[in-house]
């Protein structure tokens, strides 16, 4: 038995007790989280405390692609480069597996606490990602709450969907189209549409040119309310007169907010609502 002076023994016991009592909190929630992907930003801003967020992505400030521009401008932003990230001395970095390879390689080499997220191709994966980010931020209960809200929104859309689904196609710039195996397609089908993309052989993402589109047109064509880049090829194809010339009983264009088309997580709530609204007006 060690011979300890009494006060040393008491001090040791106090320290051990405190350590034991706080061991569940050993996972210290990160205090400087940097996200370099606008879709992850949207989840992060819902589940983390503002003081935990060190920076978001610059693209969250673009109203054409982000839903959180008003909230995002209160945070510092990066252009998603490794240099900026390191300068912020983060204790957690959230990135997409499709972020710039060079940036990811550099961050890994510098031993940053980097967590990568793949493109969510289903509602389940999106829900898992929400939970993961909430847990990483130290607030798992907020992740569960957010998933609850998302599921409620999806359920509402499902209830409002009619028995006979209408064929539809999401037609983005350059003729870019999401196929059956994408998340946006799942939400679309849930809301009462069928995805026409399979008629053109598109499974994940693909480009559909106008001749192919005219050959088997969907009943509803969702086109983005466009960027103001008149004349660029990417916007010319969706502004092509052929899309508006078809009689509405064959195909009708339905303008769709562009910032709902690229992200998962909390974006699914307004996305489901928009599809339901489109269903009603068709």
């Amino acid at each position: 038995m060690l011979r300890l002076r009494p006060w040393r023994a008491i001090a040791l016991m106090v320290i051990l007790t405190i350590l034991g009592a706080t061991s569940p909190l050993i996972y210290a929630a990160p205090t400087r989280i940097v996200s370099i992907n606008p879709c992850l930003d949207q989840i992060l801003i819902e589940v983390a405390d503002p003081q935990q967020i060190a920076a978001l992505s610059y693209y969250s400030l673009d109203p054409l692609s982000s839903l959180i521009t008003d909230r995002a401008k209160h945070f510092p932003s990066t252009y998603e480069s490794a240099e900026e990230v390191m300068a912020l001395k983060p204790d957690l970095v959230l990135a997409s597996a499709y972020s710039s390879k060079a940036t990811l390689r550099t961050l890994k080499k510098l031993n940053v606490n980097l967590v990568l997220f793949d493109l969510p191709n289903s509602i389940e994966i999106s829900a898992q990602q929400v939970l993961s980010i909430a847990e990483l931020a130290g607030h798992p209960e907020r992740g569960l709450a957010l998933n609850q809200r998302i599921n409620e929104a999806l359920a509402r859309a499902k209830i409002q969907s009619s028995k006979t689904p209408i064929s539809a196609l999401v037609y983005q710039e350059n003729g870019f189209v999401p196929g059956d195996k994408t998340l946006i397609s799942q939400v679309m089908t849930l809301s009462g549409f069928t995805n026409q993309a399979s008629a053109y052989g598109v499974k994940y993402w693909g480009i559909v040119h106008l001749e192919d589109l005219l050959h088997s047109p969907p009943k509803v064509l969702f086109t983005p309310t466009t960027r103001n880049e008149v004349g660029s090829w990417s916007s010319r194809i969706i502004a092509h007169p052929v899309l508006t010339k078809l009689p509405t009983n064959i195909m009708r264009e339905s303008p769709f907010p562009e910032n709902l088309m690229s992200c998962a997580g909390p974006t699914l709530i307004p996305l489901a609502k928009a599809f339901s609204a489109a269903l009603k007006s068709n």
Partner: protein, 316 residues
């Protein structure tokens, strides 16, 4: 004879695409097919003919003026400069002001290209220096295109680069055709005005001056003409090369060497060639159509090589 070829090809073009719509069906089309023919295939056919004719004409005129067999708007960097002009106007937001601004910006780019070409290749007008200047302009302009697009916020920027630099007629509309038409018509008029001067130039500069040709005027007419024509075409289709280069060479054995006699046949042959190439790319295997600019390069590069070998043999 060329007119017959063009007519035949036009009919073929209207019928071709992912779905074959032969002439026998043309009188009994349903709404969808009507829209397809009228709004997609017809503008595409007319655009192919117009752009092909323009490029053929420009090539013949440039080759006559510079007395250089390698002259062609794309090879000399004029088309790239036009593309640069167009892209700058898009990303500076100017093209959204008025619908014709895009074509005007492409034309301006082409003007700058030709003026630079004339200034830089000026006195040392050997074949090598000419091509060198062309390569410089091409590189500069392509770099400018990439730079502008890399600074843009648009997530589709890299697709945009491909579309401008590789040239295509897919998904074009009547608007693309109609906005290019005025520039092409006016430019063609200017080029046609230079016919006597081009003939005189085949005697050399001194010979031409002796015949009373005002070389300065000819130069500016050509600058305006080629600039207007190639600029308008690039605004509609992106960069397409080699048409202006190949066509005059193919026709010289048939029509003779006199530049003025080459102009109109080059236009027809250029139109026919581009339309034929466009029909061919519509039958590309696989999901994506081959870009027309790429197809022309595949045809043109071997031709270019053959010509260089022939020139080397002549010089040796």
């Amino acid at each position: 004879m060329l007119i017959a070829v063009v007519t035949l090809l036009s009919i073929l073009s209207l019928a071709s695409g992912r779905i074959w719509i032969g002439p026998e069906q043309w009188l009994s089309l349903d709404t969808l097919s009507q829209t397809l023919m009228w709004d997609l295939r017809l503008p595409r056919t007319l655009l192919a003919l117009m752009v092909g004719a323009s490029l053929g004409l420009c090539g013949a005129a440039l080759q006559g003026f510079t007395r250089n067999p390698l002259a062609d708007p794309a090879l000399l960097g004029i088309s790239s400069m036009a593309a640069l002009g167009a892209i700058l106007s898009i990303y500076l937001g100017l093209s959204s002001l008025e619908p014709w601004v895009l074509a005007a910006a492409a034309i301006t780019g082409a003007f700058v290209g030709i003026v630079l070409l004339i200034l830089l290749s000026g006195l040392a007008n050997t074949i090598t220096s000419f091509i060198l200047v062309g390569v410089i302009l091409q590189t500069l302009a392509s770099a400018g295109v990439a730079l502008t697009l890399s600074m843009s916020d648009n997530p589709w920027a890299s697709d945009e680069i491909i579309n401008w630099l590789l040239g295509s007629l897919q998904d074009r509309s009547w608007e693309d055709f109609l906005f290019a038409l005025p520039g092409v018509l006016i430019g063609t008029a200017f080029i046609m005005l230079t016919r006597p001067a081009l003939d005189a130039l085949s005697l050399g500069e001194i010979g031409a001056r002796a015949l009373g040709v005002n070389l300065r005027n000819t130069q500016w007419l050509l600058v305006l003409g080629v600039g207007l024509v190639s600029g308008s075409c690039v605004a509609a289709t992106g960069e397409i090369g080699f048409v202006g280069f190949i066509v005059p060479h193919l026709l010289r054995p048939l029509v003779g060497n006199l530049p003025s006699k080459l102009l109109i046949p080059s236009a027809f042959a250029g139109g026919a060639m581009l339309l034929a190439a466009d029909i061919a790319v519509r039958f590309s295997p696989g999901a994506q159509e081959l870009k027309l600019g790429v197809a022309m390069t595949l045809i043109g590069a071997p031709f270019f090589l053959m010509l260089l070998i022939k020139l080397r043999r002549q010089a040796a």
